[in-house]
């Protein structure tokens, strides 16, 4: 996807990413993490605000920095980098609340054609995974990268 996004930093295993949201409230550091789950090759995607003074991370803080589209595009870029390194993994994501899940859904729906080009996308509805469809409210999302990939670049 070729959308406006922020510069990403990561440690060498590409499990933890950091970027700076730069919006109406100033510069806000954000952390993205891919955590192993109890299912083999399934990782949980989470991201949140990093307090630059204490280093504490909170995924419930709503920054309202006026750049949510750019933030989501940056998270998607991290998913690309992660799944470029770990090719056979699934990435599970859900919001920390219903509103946040809807925000993710809006982002996926808006760019579904581009995302489907590179990922198989599923939504969780009534306790079952379904191929992602527009205009359906899901409670969680699961993606797996399709083969045929370009490499990410590290600096």
């Amino acid at each position: 996807m070729n959308l406006p996004r922020y510069e990403l930093k990561a440690e060498k295993s590409l499990i933890i990413f950091e970027f700076i949201s730069d919006g109406i409230k100033g510069q806000i550091p954000k952390i993205i993490k891919f955590d192993e789950t109890t299912l083999k090759d399934v990782y949980n995607l989470a991201f949140g605000y990093k307090d630059s003074e204490t280093g504490e991370i909170d995924d419930k803080v709503v920054s309202n920095n006026g750049d949510s589209e750019q933030v989501l595009a940056t998270v998607v870029a991290a998913v690309y980098a992660f799944t470029d390194k770990y090719k056979d993994v699934w990435v599970y994501a859900t919001g920390s609340n219903v509103a946040r899940t809807r925000l993710y859904q809006m982002g996926i729906s808006k760019y579904l054609n581009e995302i489907k080009h590179d990922f198989n996308v599923f939504g969780l509805l009534d306790g079952e995974w379904h191929k992602y469809q527009l205009n359906t409210n899901y409670t969680a999302f699961l993606v797996k990268r399709k083969e045929k990939l370009s490499k990410h670049t590290t600096l």
């Binding site: 060498k12 700076i20 989470a46 599970y92």
Partner: protein
């Protein structure tokens, strides 16, 4: 920042700068509550059927 973003935007491939300082967060359970919730859901629903 603007120049960097413009440069990034002209490139469809994610560019990731390696920062070893982030290593310190790697083994911290910073999103443990979300991971626990994910484990609970995945235990029940598993993965999509092929």
């Amino acid at each position: 920042m603007t120049t960097t973003i413009k440069k990034l935007n002209s490139n469809n491939i994610p560019i990731v700068r390696i920062d070893n300082k982030l290593e310190s967060l790697k083994n911290k359970p910073i999103f443990q509550q979300k991971v626990n919730k994910a484990n609970e859901v995945l235990r029940t629903v598993g993965l999509p059927k092929k």
